[in-house]
Amino acid sequence: MQGLKTDLAPSKGVVLPHFIYAAISFFILAIMLVFSSSDLGNNFFKPSLLAITHVAALGWGTMIIFGALYQLIPVIMETALFSERIAKINFGILGTGIIILIVAFWKFSVNLLLPIGASIVFLGLILFIINIALTTFRAEKKSIQSAFIITSSFWLLMTGLMGGLISFNYRINFLELSHLQYLKIHAHLGMFGWFLMLITGVGSILLPMFFVSHKLNVKKLHASYYLVNTGLLGLTVNWWFFQARFATPLFTIFMALGIIFFISYIYDSYKKRMRKNLDIGMKFTVLSILLFFLPILLGVLAAFRIPSEIQLFNRLIMLYGFAFFMGFTTSLILGQTYKTIPFIIWLEKYKDLVGKSKTPLPRELYSEKLASLQYWSYLIAIFGFIVGIISAIPLILKISSILLLLCAITYNINVFKILLHKPEPLNNINNEKS
């Protein structure tokens, strides 16, 4: 019955730096891909590819997710973020750590820079999980989405821990298995524990909100939660301690089923949507879900050791990781950026004026034409990459990487256009106020 605190939204100083860091990371990522596109046709264990993967996973993916999550916590948990100060310190630490880590990979300075970068990143992740755990703890509203978020941040911490162990192993070699085995665990913890878990939690709220659809079956999300977590835990424990042959296909099926439940939930939301016309943000989002089938399929095949020919197998593993990061998560982020940043800036600039005078819509804060150019360059690039990686033809990879760079440039222009948006002086507002 008590009057509730209403202003739960974080200040923009917490949220926006993450978006800026991520946008610039995406641009750098695209440039790195142009310079090393031919490496994509080879084995994945190369300094350039390790660097690119970490720019994608940390600088691009994780940074923007942190920013978006801070913004969305009031909507999901109906409470404010535990500490904005921790979030800001966290941004500084993580931002620095990522740069050191990327340089370490690119120069392959595994004895010195890598353990330092990994440790700083890990410190940032610890701060993040403390902040999220205390926020969840305080929230009265407990939903399956909160469970996804807190579980994903736990897996993120495990990913960081695993990465840290590997980085020190180059120097002091204390782990007993091949480092590729640990790398496999590290990658899957990050991909499915962190990214997938978090995307499921946040996406299952945001996507129905943007599609405008009601009455969805939350049981599917519960099923997804238990299946994916069981599968991931099973895979991790098995890969680390037992290496039992039968277990990998079994737990992979668990995870694939869990993901299908999530996709089915989103599909219901898509089917029941009130808004039939998809804007650019939602086009990217739908594309992202479609692209997600590729890594699922490749992951299941790989679990059954298909194909048996080793060179093709390695290329498909490359495609598996590439499709997950540059296909599924990147297109989702590209799309959701258009749904979130314009709204944040619009809210800040126009909330006082709404209802009193005519205000622009959030989507009028960016260039629709550039966004469209971005969409098509991305779409062609990603299919080019798929063909290029399977066929290992350098020219296709090079052209695709240039198209992706075009996508990154148009994306950055639009993001900064939104961030630097200035409301046009409207005379009638001043008249009304005076």
């Binding site: 019955m1 008590q2 009057g3 509730l4 605190k5 209403t6 202003d7 739960l8 939204a9 009031p74 909507v75 109906e78 909100m209 943007f210 405008v212 009601h214 009455k215 939350v218 009130m274 808004r275 709204f343 619009w346 809210l347 909330k351 006082d352 709404v354 209802g355 009193k356 205000t359 819509l361 959030p362």
Partner: protein, 273 residues
């Protein structure tokens, strides 16, 4: 589980869900417990003894019913009154040293089945620091006592008869006023509908559930700008609008909300005169 008059109702329900039905069957006052929202707000604050007091019955009666479904009774030596309360049964005119600015007798309203909450809150807002008002009621008004304590009042309760209670509310110095603690109040279905009835015909209704963000916010703010004095805007929304609430507060609107289910929230927005 052992229970005593000091045991919180929420702890009992947590132990055994059947306790809801059992307690609700004791007295019509307790049927409210079947409402999950009220159960959450009241259950966690009120003890068996306080509940019995609200219902105007002996705590033993509730405990006896609970014993039948498997609870053990543990007698507590604690005194038989709420914090700060004086029991002086029999005295019609209680003697205290508190000077009262306003006296509010809500027994008639209660008898007619009306909710005096709004009147009490309104009265409380007029009370300055250090001042007091007297509330006369037919039972111990625990919810309002808790509510006002949270907004900086101390309460002194005097039981003046079987159906007569005097409560002296004093606004402590340096306390926050209720309107600064937020403009948004979540209600249960009954209370929300009562608020709705208070506005009678003076309601503008809009449904923003099928609009895409930020159109719900834009529509609501546009409607509130056109809202006439004494009118309220009744909104069907999908969720509690986290980004809209601060803006409504800036524009001096108050909001009552009722969460029907995960997809339906009803809001009543009005300007407090």
């Amino acid at each position: 589980m052992k229970i005593s008059p000091e045991t919180k109702i929420s702890a009992i329900i947590k132990e055994n869900e059947n306790a809801i039905d059992v307690i609700a069957s004791v007295n019509r006052h307790f049927r409210k417990l079947k409402n999950p929202f009220l159960r959450k707000t009241l259950g966690s604050r009120v003890t068996v003894k306080e509940a019995a007091s609200i219902g105007g019955i002996s705590p033993d009666l509730i405990m006896e019913k609970l014993r039948l479904i498997g609870f053990e009774i543990e007698l507590s030596p604690a005194d038989n009154s709420l914090n700060n309360s004086i029991n002086s049964i029999g005295n019609i005119e209680p003697k205290t040293d508190i000077s009262v600015r306003t006296t509010l007798d809500v027994r008639d309203q209660i008898a007619k089945g009306m909710d005096p909450m709004k009147l009490i809150l309104k009265t409380s807002e007029e009370i300055k620091e250090g001042e007091s008002f007297l509330l006369i009621n037919s039972f111990e008004p625990l919810p309002i006592m808790h509510l006002l304590k949270e907004s900086g009042f101390s309460a002194k309760l005097v039981k003046s008869g079987a159906d007569l209670v005097h409560v002296y509310f004093t606004r402590e110095r340096n306390s926050t006023r209720i309107d600064s603690s937020g403009n948004f109040i979540l209600l249960n279905e009954n209370d929300f509908n009562k608020k709705l009835e208070e506005f009678g015909e003076n309601i503008t209704r809009i449904d923003v559930r099928n609009l895409e963000m930020p159109e719900p916010m834009v529509n609501i703010l546009e409607e509130t700008e056109n809202l006439k004095n004494g009118f309220a805007l009744y909104v069907d929304h999908k969720k509690v609008p986290q980004y809209l609430l601060p803006e409504l507060e800036n524009r001096q609107f108050k909001v009552y909300g009722y969460e029907m289910d995960n997809d339906n929230v009803k809001l009543l927005i009005y300007k407090d005169q």
